[in-house]
C-alpha cells in the first residue's frame, strides 16, 4: 500500500507531524539578505529562541535583486511570511499603503530609535511607523594604511589635504590614487555625490530644506559636491569609464589603489580579502574646524505582515529586534551594518569601530535622494547616478547637472515648482 502511494504517505506523515509542532508558534521571516543566512541561524535565532520559548523562527531569504518582486507576489497571494524585512522608503511605504505591513507605532521597542533612524520606515508625516529600523550603513573613505605609510601621508580631514594626498599618490605613480569606476553608475552617486555631499548641504538641514522646497538642486550647496566630483576623474585609474564595482573592490583589496570611496558594508568582505591594514576617514570638510556631516543611511528594517496569524509572537520578535541585545549581536556578526538603536553598542572590529565613532564626531543624515524625492518620473536617484557619472567624466558641467536634476524634480514634485 505505502509503496504504491508514496505521496499519500508523505502527506499523512506531514499531517501527523503537524500537531506535534502546533504548540510552538513558528514565524517565517522574509528577507533579501541571503548573505546573512548563517548569522541568523547560528547566532540570532538561537539567542531569540532561548529567551522566548514557544516561538520558533524560520529565516527564508531570497536573492536581493528578486526580493521585491517575489515578496510582492507572495503578499498578493497571501503566502508571505509573518515577518517582512523592509527596504527603506518608498518600496516599503507602498507595501504599507497596500495594507500588507501592519502599523507598529505603538511598539515599546520604538522608543529606542531617533527620528532620523525611523524616517526610512514611517509615513511622510512621520505619524505611523511600519517597520523597526534594523541597520544602517555609513559612508566614508577606506584607505590602505601601508600605502599611506610608504608615501608618508596622513588621514586627510579637509578638502585641501584630501586633494594634496591624491596628488602625492598620483605623482608617486606606483598606485592608483582612488579606486572607483563609472560603468555601474551607482558608485558615482552613492559613494561620490551622497558621500561627500552632506558636508556641503549641512546634512539634515539641507536635505529637509530640499524636501520642503526651500532649497533647490541648483543652489551652491547642491552643485558644490558635483564640482568636487568633477575633479575626481583625474585620480581614477586608466579606463575607469568601463571599470565596474567588483573591479574597484578588487583593485583596492589587491593593494593597487590607495583610497576607496565607499560605505561600511564593505568591511566584512574586505576583512577577508585585504592582506594590508585598512583605515577609514570621513568625507573631508571644506575648512579645518567645520562640522562634519556623514551619510548614516538607513538600509534594513523589519516589519510585520498585516495578515499574519501570530501577531503577538511577531510583536515579541519586533520588540526584541529593537533591543540593545539584538543590536550587539547583529553589529558584531555583521561589522559594517550598524544598529540604528540609540543604545550604546560595543563593536570588536577596529574598522567598524572607526566608522561608528563618527556618529559621535559628526552629524548624521541619510542619502538625499531616498526619501520622497525618488517617487516620481524622472526618478531623482537614478538621475543623480547619471549626472554624477557625466560630471566625473567631464561630459556635463556641475552647473548643468544641477539644472537638469532640478528641472526633472520640479516637473513632478510640487514643493519644488
Amino acid at each position: 500500500m505505502t509503496k504504491r502511494n508514496p505521496i499519500g504517505a508523505l502527506l499523512i506523515s506531514t499531517m501527523l507531524a503537524g500537531p506535534a509542532w502546533a504548540e510552538d508558534v513558528t514565524l517565517t521571516i522574509e528577507s533579501w539578505r541571503n548573505d546573512d543566512l548563517a548569522i541568523w541561524q547560528d547566532q540570532i535565532i538561537p539567542a531569540f529562541e532561548a529567551a522566548h520559548p514557544g516561538i520558533k523562527l524560520n529565516f527564508t531569504p531570497s536573492a536581493p535583486a528578486e526580493y521585491n518582486a517575489i515578496l510582492n507576489s507572495k503578499l498578493e497571494a497571501g503566502s508571505a511570511g509573518d515577518i517582512i524585512t523592509c527596504r527603506p522608503f518608498d518600496a516599503s511605504l507602498a507595501l504599507f499603503e497596500a495594507g500588507h505591513l501592519a502599523d507598529i507605532s505603538a511598539l515599546d521597542g520604538m522608543s529606542n530609535f531617533s527620528a532620523v533612524a525611523k524616517s526610512g520606515w514611517s509615513t511622510d508625516d512621520a505619524s505611523i511607523q511600519y517597520c523597526v529600523p534594523m541597520a544602517s550603513v555609513i559612508h566614508g573613505f577606506i584607505y590602505n594604511k601601508d600605502i599611506f605609510a610608504e608615501l608618508g601621508l596622513e588621514e586627510p580631514t579637509t578638502e585641501a589635504e584630501f586633494f594634496a594626498a591624491l596628488d602625492a599618490i598620483k605623482d608617486d605613480g606606483s598606485y592608483i590614487p582612488m579606486a572607483m569606476g563609472t560603468n555601474d553608475q551607482w558608485e558615482a552617486a552613492t559613494m561620490g555625490y551622497n558621500n561627500i555631499g552632506p558636508n556641503y548641504w549641512k546634512g539634515e538641514d539641507g536635505r529637509l530644506a530640499l524636501l520642503a522646497g526651500d532649497q533647490k538642486l541648483t543652489d551652491e550647496a547642491w552643485v558644490a559636491p558635483f564640482r568636487q566630483l568633477a575633479k575626481w576623474g583625474d585620480y581614477l585609474g586608466d579606463g575607469y569609464e568601463a571599470q565596474t564595482y567588483p573591479d574597484s573592490q578588487n583593485i583596492f583589496t589587491l593593494g593597487r589603489a590607495a583610497i576607496y570611496p565607499t560605505g561600511s558594508w564593505e568591511i566584512s568582505g574586505f576583512n577577508g580579502l585585504a592582506d594590508f591594514e585598512m583605515g577609514a576617514f570621513y568625507p573631508p570638510v571644506q575648512a579645518a574646524g567645520d562640522t562634519c556631516y556623514i551619510s548614516d543611511h538607513t538600509d534594513i528594517g523589519i516589519g510585520m505582515n498585516a495578515a499574519t496569524d501570530n501577531p503577538e509572537a511577531a510583536k515579541t520578535l519586533l520588540n526584541w529586534v529593537g533591543s540593545p541585545e539584538f543590536a550587539t549581536i547583529f553589529a558584531n556578526a555583521l561589522p559594517g551594518f550598524f544598529p540604528l538603536s540609540s543604545a550604546p553598542v560595543t563593536l570588536d572590529d577596529p574598522l567598524a569601530q572607526e566608522f561608528i565613532s563618527w556618529r559621535g564626531e559628526c552629524e548624521s543624515t541619510i542619502r538625499s535622494t531616498y526619501q520622497v524625492l525618488s517617487r516620481g518620473t524622472p526618478n531623482l536617484e537614478n538621475e543623480t547616478w547619471n549626472a554624477s557619472v557625466a560630471v566625473i567624466k567631464g561630459d556635463e558641467s556641475p552647473e548643468d547637472a544641477g539644472q537638469r536634476l532640478q528641472k526633472g524634480l520640479a516637473s513632478w514634485y510640487e514643493p519644488q515648482q
Partner: protein, 308 residues
C-alpha cells in the same frame, strides 16, 4: 442519412496531436501577449486598477520624459539591428560559402567552433566579453599593445560613442553561427546538376557564387533577415548582463528591451509600473508586427521561387 455516413469521419487524431502544442503555446505565449495588450489600457490609481484607455500611450509618446527615452531606445535598437544586418549576415553568408567548398579541410570543426557561441548563455557571453575588454584585467589592451596599436585601445564599454557598437559586435560574434548554418543548409540543397551545367557554360568560382548560388539562397537570406529583426527588437539579455538595467553609459546602450524592463519591474528606487511597462511592450509588439508584415507582403510575396 446516407450522405452523413459517407462523409469522412471527423479526424480526432489531428486534434489530439495538435492539442499539446496549442495548449502550451496558448498558455505561455498567446494568453500573456493579449493580457499585456489589455494591461496597457489600465493604470493604478489609489491601489485600484482602472481603465484609462490610451492614456499610457499618450504619456509614452506625448510626455518628453517618456518619449525621449522611447525614441532613444528605438534609435539604439535600429543601430543594433543595422550592425547585425551589415556585419553578422554578410559574414554568415561568406562563412557558409567557404564552408560549403568541397575542398576545405576540417570544415566540420570550423562549423562547430563558429556555432558554439550561439548555444552559450547571454550571461556568460556578456561577462566574458566584459572581462576581455576590461581596461584593468582584460586581454584586449595587452593584445593591442603587443602589436604596437595600444593607442587604439579605449575602454569601449564605458564610452558613450562606442558602447552600443561594441555590444552589437559582441552579439554578432555570438550569433553569426545561425545565418551561417541556415545558408550552409541552403547551399547544400542546390542540386549539383545546376552547378555542373553552369560550369559547362564557363561559370565557375566566384562568379558561380554571385550568379547561381546567391539568387538561389535569397529566400533563406530573407528568412534570416526577418529572424534577425525579430531577435534584435526583442533583445535585452546581453545589454542587461553587460551594462545593467540602466544601460549605461548615459543610456547609450538602452534598447527597447531594457527600457521595458526598467519600467515594468522598476529599478533601484524607481518602483515598477506594470501598466506603463505593458504600453512599452505593446509598442514593441506593434513595431515587430509592422516589420514582419512589411517583409511578408512587401518582400516575401514578390520573391521568385525556383523549382528543381
Amino acid at each position: 442519412m446516407r450522405k452523413h455516413e459517407n462523409s469522412p469521419r471527423f479526424r480526432w487524431h489531428i486534434v489530439v496531436f495538435l492539442a499539446p502544442a496549442v495548449l502550451v503555446y496558448t498558455a505561455v505565449m498567446i494568453y500573456p501577449l493579449f493580457n499585456t495588450l489589455r494591461l496597457s489600457f489600465f493604470a493604478e490609481v489609489d491601489q485600484q486598477r482602472v481603465f484609462v484607455g490610451l492614456q499610457n500611450f499618450h504619456r509614452l509618446f506625448g510626455d518628453a520624459i517618456w518619449s525621449n527615452q522611447f525614441w532613444n531606445a528605438l534609435g539604439n535598437n535600429l543601430w543594433f539591428f543595422l550592425i547585425h544586418m551589415l556585419v553578422q549576415n554578410p559574414i554568415g553568408i561568406a562563412l557558409a560559402a567557404i564552408l560549403s567548398h568541397s575542398r576545405l579541410r576540417f570544415a566540420a570543426f570550423y562549423r562547430s567552433a563558429i556555432f558554439i557561441p550561439t548555444i552559450l548563455s547571454f550571461v556568460i557571453v556578456g561577462f566574458a566579453w566584459k572581462l576581455i575588454l576590461s581596461p584593468i584585467w582584460g586581454i584586449a589592451p595587452g593584445m593591442l599593445d603587443a602589436v604596437g596599436l595600444n593607442s587604439l585601445y579605449a575602454p569601449w564599454l564605458g564610452k558613450e560613442e562606442y558602447a552600443l557598437t561594441t555590444l552589437s559586435l559582441v552579439s554578432v560574434w555570438q550569433f553569426v553561427g545561425i545565418p551561417m548554418m541556415l545558408i550552409y543548409a541552403a547551399l547544400l540543397s542546390i542540386p549539383e546538376e545546376i552547378l555542373e551545367a553552369a560550369e559547362v557554360e564557363g561559370i565557375t568560382g566566384l562568379s558561380a557564387f554571385w550568379k547561381i548560388k546567391l539568387p538561389l539562397i535569397l529566400p533563406s537570406i530573407g528568412i534570416i533577415s526577418i529572424l534577425t529583426f525579430v531577435a534584435n527588437f526583442n533583445a535585452f539579455d546581453l545589454i542587461y548582463a553587460a551594462q545593467g538595467a540602466l544601460a549605461g553609459p548615459d543610456f547609450s546602450t538602452d534598447i527597447l528591451g531594457t527600457f521595458l524592463y526598467r519600467t515594468f519591474f522598476g529599478f533601484q528606487l524607481q518602483l515598477g509600473d506594470p501598466h506603463m511597462g505593458s504600453a512599452i511592450a505593446s509598442a514593441m509588439f506593434l513595431i515587430i508586427l509592422l516589420g514582419v508584415c512589411l517583409y511578408l507582403f512587401g518582400i516575401q510575396s514578390r520573391m521568385r521561387r525556383y523549382q528543381f
